[in-house]
Symmetry: C3
Subunit: 364 residues, 3 copies
């Protein structure tokens, strides 16, 4: 990492600098393992002992901290610790080691346009007529399909796969192995499928008759807004006729699956291994914990929060906080779960009651 | 997309064409967003208003629709809408933009054979003695291991990984990042492992003793039938001694995991994020919703249907429809779940009963 | 596979050889499908009929087996069958077909060092200043980031992605598509996020207010011990400031996710699709079945065993065996579940009791 002075870092964070603000640091570290050229991260008084144990000469500290008493030469004091962490890590993140321009091994298709200041890595393939925005960084082995448009300041890590005819806004980030625009998983049977029948009847058996699956191809591609991040090995499938769409500011973690024809709103946050089936509509500002599942063809309203492991099997209205399998309101879930924990005891109590109630009949 | 006339499309769908059947379309669209060169998809009367709002001159319509009253110049009327969608999207899907022949950057191993009419993309690696069937399309960065055989008309998207000694039938489709033939996850401990002990005792504690894991290598590869599709970033692991096998016609969605030594039947459908542990036997025509899990070394009979999120922890007989964690028959699940919803109230009722029953004791 | 004599195999397994120990085999097979050059695997008397049906001349047999009566020319008798399978499959596994040395298409960055006897495949990219140990085998399309260090005897399959500044010990195995060192999924909101609020209140509704996510970058990379295996398309994310760490001997299956800042101990075993959220501490010898989820910022003690599908939502002490959503002790889970199965009947009983209890009130 390049060196930064305490003054530069404080300015970038909009925070107050103290002491020898010309002092330079080349990295950040936890207080106890910080070396003399690291900025120690000690945004809470509980880290004071760690500072004493480490070798940092400068630290990020809580508001009002007595940096001199902590034996430091310089300090920056900040409010919300994680906001400061955001600014600091952004400054120190060098990103992938990519030379400017198009690497001689990369293949750029006929009619494709690469924006100014872009860095295209080894073995990258950019399809025919694709457009890549200014200052894009595309790491080795990534591929971008024909006719796809990606906005400015994109960062595609190694091995990212973007399909054909995809539209992506500015400041897109895709982690290694992310796949945008694979074909949707869409099959039809000539007659009603046994899956459709099972949903209708909710019976415990079905006729188990053989059925062959006929493929519906995906022509609709994907449209992503601005400021979207897609995690490692996550998949956003193409729509059938219209595109699968995701609104600006939405962040998607590793191994998430968003199926064909979904419409996802703005500023959502999906943790790892979330799976959203086909043709789901999700509002803005929705937060899904890890492993949340959503069944196909439903809607999830604005601002819904679902805890980790929740399986959403029916529509969820705006603002609801849900949990469980199937999903219910969080407080209902807690109440049901507490009752379930006590259920073995309840069964014993009912057995005792039956006994005591039936006895009088005998003795009467 | 290339232009097609209404007559050509109707012939391909085996459907009836009306009006100016020489009219050409170059794409398909939802009625309200269709341009003058799109075929509007309006297979239900509820889309009539959409047609009026859009600019389509031709549409796919429901049986008996009055296409002239809808202001169209031409129309095709169809029965089961999704079957028509299947035929239409197949016609219009151009597939990946790959030049015929072997791209100069691709590497074809010694003794490998590429079928007639195949298109092998940039940076593809085909292993020694592999055989690729006629008309295969293999997109950039895919790799095929030594000795592997893939049938005719395969479509491997970018970055697909096929291991060594794999046998695959005709018309195989693999989405980006799919992995067929990785090593199975198979470990043994010199003495009984704590996982085995926990299963036997079902106790809530174990001795937590250290154990080292000794690897069992995978020699058995994978055998896939005809007409199989594997989704993006899905994994089908190699068997230990005999191959992991999947029957013809089975369709597998994104991020599905099929472990070593599994035997999966014909015409199954596994939605995204399904996970099947080692040495499971699955019959024909089995349908798994998203995120279904199956524990190792069990069997699932023909025609079983499991709802999204189900965890199957024991054998499931033919024709059963299951749900829940652990899986039970669908109707049992519904009954149990309804009772659980009412459980907090039931607990209150039991408390009241205890009160009313105990009172007589006091007053007696 | 190269030929081995029965004597050689027995010596490698530390087992007893019988009969014509100079006989050569070139593969292993199940008894009924074994050819004359295969070693049949029949480590249990139940396979005796299979031996008769197949053509094997030599077999791996149970202790004390009468190999002559089974019609064999040679045999090896072994104790714990799966331990023998481990040794045998290791002998017969040729691994990926890679020529020694660096393939002419591979790119090795400035200052990078490749160990003696390494085989680096086509289209591999090794970053600036990376160090790869002796005898490493790195298959096609893999990439290793700048400054990363990988120990001796590594096996990276096709398309593996190792990020920058990662430290990996000896004998590392990574299956196709595995990603080590992608950026962690870490976001902050200027004010308290609605996810934090939901956890605190456990209420069923929230204000659904819009919030924008500010990124925290990952500077901490990943540190892996010796003898670690990572499955296909699995992801181990980089830490924020300090590294995400995994102890020696831990084995991780396909599509597992280990988030940023996690600390995982030695000799753990995580089955497919396990997901571990950020900043979790996991002890040594922990065993997770498939699809286990672990919520962020908790600890899981040494030797914990969690059954497939378990969602761990709070700390788990050492030695515990857990199951369920949320996770409870295995025996508690069994008891709760049995009670739940009987719950519909219990509800009927309570209704009957209410009737019988209320009747006296009427007749009094």
């Amino acid at each position: 990492m390049p060196a930064h002075t305490i003054a530069q870092i404080a300015a970038a964070l909009g925070a107050e600098a103290h002491g020898d603000t010309d002092l330079s640091v080349t990295g950040a570290a936890e207080p106890q393992s910080a070396g003399p050229d690291d900025l120690a991260l000690a945004m809470d008084p509980k880290y004071a002992d760690g500072l004493a144990a480490g070798q940092a000469r400068a630290a990020l500290l809580w508001p009002g901290a007595d940096w001199q008493a902590l034996g430091l030469k310089a300090a920056i004091t900040v409010g919300r610790a994680r906001m400061a962490l955001s600014g600091l890590t952004r400054m120190l993140d060098a990103g992938p080691d990519l030379a400017d321009g198009v690497h001689p091994t990369a293949i750029v298709g006929e009619g494709a346009k690469i924006g100014d200041g872009a860095a295209i890595g080894p073995f990258v393939v950019i399809g025919r007529d694709a457009r890549i925005g200014a200052r894009a960084r595309i790491d080795s082995h990534a591929s971008v399909g024909a006719g796809t448009v990606i906005g400015d300041d994109a960062l595609l890590h190694a091995g990212v796969r973007i399909g054909a005819q995809v539209r992506i806004g500015d400041r897109f980030i895709a982690q290694p192995g992310a796949v945008v625009g694979a074909d949707g998983f869409s099959y039809v049977t000539p007659e009603k499928s046994r899956a459709e029948a099972a949903r209708e009847t909710m019976a415990g058996e079905n006729d188990a008759e053989a059925q062959a699956w006929v493929r519906i191809h995906s022509l609709g591609a994907v449209v992503l807004g601005d400021d979207i991040e897609i995690g490692a090995n996550a998949c956003i499938d193409a729509g059938t006729i219209r595109p699968t769409t995701i609104g600006s500011g939405t962040k998607i973690d590793n191994q998430v699956h968003v199926a064909h024809n979904c419409t996802v709103g703005r500023d959502c946050l999906f943790a790892a291994q979330v799976g959203i089936a086909g043709s789901v509509t999700i509002g803005d500002n929705v937060i899904f914990g890890g492993k949340v599942g959503v069944v196909d063809n439903i809607f999830v309203g604005n601002g819904v929060v679902a805890g980790g492991g929740t399986n959403i099997l029916s529509n969820v209205p705006e603002g609801r906080v849900v949990m469980g399998y199937p999903a219910v309101k969080m407080d209902t879930h807690v109440e049901m779960y507490k009752a379930l924990r006590r259920l073995p005891r309840l069964a014993t109590e009912v057995a005792a009651l039956k006994n005591s109630v039936s006895k009088p009949d005998v003795t009467d």
